[in-house]
């Protein structure tokens, strides 16, 4: 198919021009907060691995759950209409909260599309919190070997469930902090995991979101907060979002991206889920 002037394309490769039109037609997964969507270039990207890190309590799990719900927003309302895989390593997935966030998402859709009940009854039927919960595939992981096993199993699982559009691991760090005495082994295992996740994201055209914890590191003469799992892990994602506190407000900072500049955006965690920060005097919201 390549004409004489074009370079020979090896099987499996694509040229950048073809990839451009594919990339421009990609839909992104909304985070619930317009400000965060803007710094991410529309939302969480499919075919990429995004790492989200932050101190405990800043809202990582809330954002993870929000994404598991938002990926399911039907296509006719501007979403991907996909399903979610949620891999829980810490036990922080609270089902009642997920139900609450699903309700919040549905009420926002109906607010934006007030005439939806006129359009199609099947669309209306889909908008029940029960359906949103039914389309989240939940794995509970209790050790690092289970974590490796589930990621290996994912390829087979995704081949059978082709409508999954997001895989969330909450958190990727937990089981790798306690048991590992051999740090070199840990680095090898983690870099193997990250390559597998990259491959899955690309092959099945889905978003992989990894939640990470923070730790302290001694650099330049003082202790600083940094993401866990070390320097070698910091290269294992395509994008990185860091959630932090600025006084009483929550902020998201885009730390790494191949195509977007670094930027910060404020956000809030409300009863309905992750949303834009309303005013500069947001109180620190304790969820449930």
């Amino acid at each position: 198919m390549a004409s004489d002037g074009d370079p020979p394309v090896l099987a499996g490769a694509q040229n950048a021009w073809d990839m451009l039109s594919e990339e421009q037609s990609q839909k992104h997964i909304t985070t619930g907060s317009g400000n965060i969507n803007n710094i991410l270039g529309g939302g969480i990207h499919c075919k990429e691995v995004t790492e989200i890190g932050g101190v405990p309590g800043v809202g990582k799990t809330q954002l993870g759950i929000q994404l598991a719900i938002n990926v399911q927003i039907p296509v006719e309302y501007g979403g991907l209409g996909g399903k979610a895989v949620y891999i829980d390593t810490e036990g922080s997935f609270m089902v009642e909260r997920v139900y609450q966030i699903a309700e919040g998402c549905i009420s926002d859709i109906l607010e934006h599309f007030p005439h939806s009940h006129e359009k199609s009854s099947s669309g209306q039927r889909k908008l029940q919190p029960e359906h949103f919960l039914a389309d989240i595939f939940y794995f509970r992981i209790c050790s690092y070997t289970e974590q490796i096993a589930v990621i290996n199993y994912l390829e087979k699982f995704l081949g059978e469930h082709k409508d999954v559009r997001i895989v969330i691991i909450d958190s990727v760090t937990f089981h790798f902090r306690q048991d590992f005495d051999d740090l070199a082994l840990r680095t090898r295992v983690l870099s193997g995991l990250s390559l597998k996740l990259m491959k899955i994201a690309k092959a099945y055209n889905l978003a992989v979101v990894l939640l990470n914890q923070v730790t302290t590191k001694f650099t330049e003469g003082s202790f600083q907060l940094t993401l866990a799992l070390g320097d070698s892990w910091s290269h294992s994602c395509t994008n990185r979002l860091i959630l932090y506190w600025n006084g009483n407000e929550r902020y998201a900072y885009l730390d790494k991206s191949p195509s977007l500049p670094v930027a910060s955006a404020p956000y809030a965690v409300t009863g309905k889920g992750v949303r834009d920060a309303v005013s500069s005097n947001c109180k620190r919201v304790r969820v449930m």
Partner: protein
Amino acid sequence: MAAAGISGCGLKRHCALADHEEKEMMKDQCGRFWNGMDLLKDVTENKHFLPTGLEGIDTLLGGGLRQGQVTEITGPSSSGKTQVCLHSASYVAARHMGAVMYLDTSNSFSPSRIANITDELPISLVQEPRHVRLKRAMSSIICESVFDIFALFEVLHRLELSLLNDKVNNVGSKVCLLIIDSISSLLAPIIGGKYLQVQVTNHMVSAGNGALKPALGESWKAVPHVRLVIFRDHGSNICTATVLKHTLMASGRPMKFVVPS
């Protein structure tokens, strides 16, 4: 022919060869030799450079990436390594210098960023509308994702075959730049071909005492011909690059450059 069973770098003798046959075969196998003056002439006159398009880096490298050399770019996370790769690919493609093969291990190849960079490049002497130039340039950048070392070996093998078979070809479509971003993800040695410039990125890992050093260890140090370290100032577009190793220029000189947004 008596030379059945030649494999790898050794010669297997299957039956006794006549003296002159043996000499002919050995000469074919070990290739031609050069004398010192030929080498100097090749280095000084046949200066085939591929600029990256980023002024500071090109100055540090004495013109750009050199033909037949491996250039390594190393730096901590988010310091600009992928941006240097994307800039090189865009510049080379836009200037008709040849095709670019981009091997991506972390799904960081961004076509929209390439389009962005290509559009920002100064208008070339050839009068052509922007979208035509964009299409032509982007069609000569080929991207392939590799996620393990065996896939990398296979891609490199196919590339080598296609380069050997395409000896007589117009300049525009022959691969002249191979970019691997990033090799430390795959932990592998790579080939530096005679007609190819190779640019790789590498990670930085802890060296103890809070310092950072390039990954892949002591044995990798000798492989690239040129090594650059990049650091990015926090929260800005200004990066500092320092030469760790270079065949012609002194190392240790830092240079600031800006990654345009």
